[in-house]
């Protein structure tokens, strides 16, 4: 086994790690602010995939426009979900389980709506950038480089916005102490609304970046959602840094498993890793940190 192959696989691990991080940071943000698990998050991803497909192929838009359009579309659906389904359950008894059923229902609904509207045939879109580079015998497709680059930029922007912007600080305040946020004049319901919008857009971005490599179908979000949950818990729910770290950890572990053992067992290794980490650190890798 050549060292070049190992580096290539680690790079591929980073690519899936980037996608995991985008998905998991959304779940983590929602957990942080609303204290709920969003089981419809995978459908935001799916909608992002279809969104970019239609924007590119039917709308004839260039990728640079089509991707933001897909993100915007998913954000609108996310905000609708918040207003129509989640908002009425807020502040009612049973909040620890009611959003689970509500978002599971939304997930089933959206998946079958997509199936109904767009059919079960898998859809493909071309690479945004063709070709690749060959660095010291290590081959990297530009599309994959692009995924990592875009993810890094977007995550840096999101983290900076959470740290510095008034809106980001309001979101963190809501997550840390909701009543205190209300008493400081923050409209927490607006924070919830925008959080759903933002996280849906991040999921759609993940799909839009990955769509040229995998195909688009109504079920594409399901398996990824499970992985994203693992990443969240691995890193520590509510921690953004944890989601990023967990994503990269899981992505590289998986691709090294493929290289060293077999692709069939990579998921098993991933889940074993999760249970081992939780055994040693019950709150995840960065679970105790407030943000």
């Amino acid at each position: 086994m050549s060292p070049g192959l190992v580096v290539e696989q680690i790079f591929n691990g980073l690519v899936s790690g980037a996608i995991y991080a985008l998905m998991a940071s959304g779940l983590s943000l929602i957990w942080g602010t609303l204290k709920m698990l969003n089981f419809a998050h995978g459908e935001f991803y799916m909608l992002g995939g279809f969104g970019v497909y239609f924007a590119l192929l039917l709308g004839g838009l260039p990728p640079l426009v089509a991707v933001p359009v897909a993100m915007l579309g998913a954000a609108v659906v996310g905000m609708l979900l918040e207003r129509l389904v989640i908002h009425p359950l807020l502040d009612k008894p049973g909040w620890d389980v009611s959003p689970i059923i509500a978002t599971l229902g939304a997930s089933i609904l959206l998946q079958n709506l997509a199936l109904h509207l767009w059919g079960e045939r898998f859809k493909n879109i071309p690479y945004y950038i063709e070709g690749g580079v060959n660095l010291f015998g290590i081959r990297m497709a530009w599309q994959r480089v692009l995924i990592v680059a875009v993810t890094v930029v977007v995550i840096v922007v999101v983290v900076a916005a959470l740290r510095r912007s008034r809106w980001g600080m309001a979101l963190r305040a809501t997550a840390q102490d909701r009543d205190a946020a209300v008493l400081a004049g923050i409209d927490v319901y607006a924070v919830y609304l925008w959080t759903l919008g933002l996280t849906a857009a991040l999921a759609a971005l993940a799909a839009a970046m990955l769509a040229p490599i995998y195909s688009i179908n109504p079920w594409m979000g399901t398996a990824l959602l499970l992985k994203a949950f693992i990443v969240c818990v691995l890193g520590g729910l509510g921690s953004l840094e944890g989601a990023i770290l967990g994503g990269v950890l899981l992505g590289t572990t998986e691709s090294l498993t493929v290289l060293l053992w077999s692709s069939e067992w990579k998921d098993v290794v991933a889940f074993v890793l999760l249970i081992l980490v939780l055994w040693v650190r019950p709150a995840g890798l960065m679970g105790t940190r407030e943000w």
């Binding site: 008034r166 008493l183 400081a184 409209d187 927490v188 407030e290």
Partner: protein, 234 residues
């Protein structure tokens, strides 16, 4: 300025505030006294809009607050320093203060407000980069008051600011409350430390298990034999 009329507040089916009426005039310091569980915090939460009354009215400058969303109530200048400080523990002192200036009307004056708060509580300036969760109890109370002041309040409601603090620190906090009052902010002070509260208040109301039982000028109640026996332990 604040006019509370016939307020009934319930948690589920349990009523904890009964037909409560009181007023706070502009520029006054008014205190709301009562033992544990009397319903003082509940009253403040209802004014802030965190709870909604079953019956009664809360008028602020003649505007009815019962259906106004809590963030808008804050925007109107009604600020509460809640029981137990309720800071954002994972944010720095400076971030806590800056978020205090979140209401639209206060944003433009963030810099000036910050300076004013730092001059009232110099220790906050020293510790601006420290996480709020790691401050001492006294520092946390100062930060909580400072955060509310950043919003440029017109009515400042404080819920037991003396709770769990050393006498020296309590003294400083009460100096600041009087200072803030002199600068034209109206104050509604909830306290269990009746002696201290009555000594700074223009007027006082006494709650017992959700019912208003006494009202009067601070000095008058301070001298009243019944009140002294029941609340001042003499």
């Amino acid at each position: 300025m604040l006019d509370v009329r016939g307020l009934d507040v319930l948690y589920g089916d349990v009523q904890v505030v009964w037909d409560l009426s009181f007023t706070v005039d502009a520029g006054e310091i008014v205190t709301l006294l009562g033992a544990n569980g009397a319903g003082k915090s509940t009253t403040l939460k209802t004014i802030s809009g965190l709870l909604r009354p079953r019956r009664g009215h809360i008028l602020f400058d003649g505007v009815s607050l019962e259906t106004v969303p809590p963030d808008r109530i804050v925007g109107m200048g009604v600020l509460q320093v809640p029981e137990g400080r309720r800071l954002w523990p994972g944010m720095t002192v400076l971030e806590n203060l800056r978020l205090g200036a979140y209401p639209k009307g206060a944003r433009g004056e963030e810099g000036a407000s910050l300076e004013a708060v730092f001059s009232l509580f110099p220790v906050l300036a020293e510790r601006r980069g420290q996480l709020a969760g790691t401050l001492s109890g006294g520092e946390q109370q100062m930060l909580a008051i400072g955060r509310a002041l950043m919003a440029r309040p017109r009515l400042l409601m404080l819920d037991e600011p003396s709770l769990g603090l050393a006498p020296k620190v309590i003294e400083r906090i009460f100096e600041v409350i009087q200072d803030v009052s002199r600068r034209g902010v109206t104050v509604l002070l909830v306290e269990q430390n009746a002696h201290l509260a009555l000594s700074v208040a223009n007027r006082a109301y006494i709650l017992e298990t959700g019912h208003l039982v006494r009202a009067g000028a601070g000095s008058e109640l301070l001298a009243d034999a019944d009140v002294r026996r029941a609340y001042l332990g003499v």
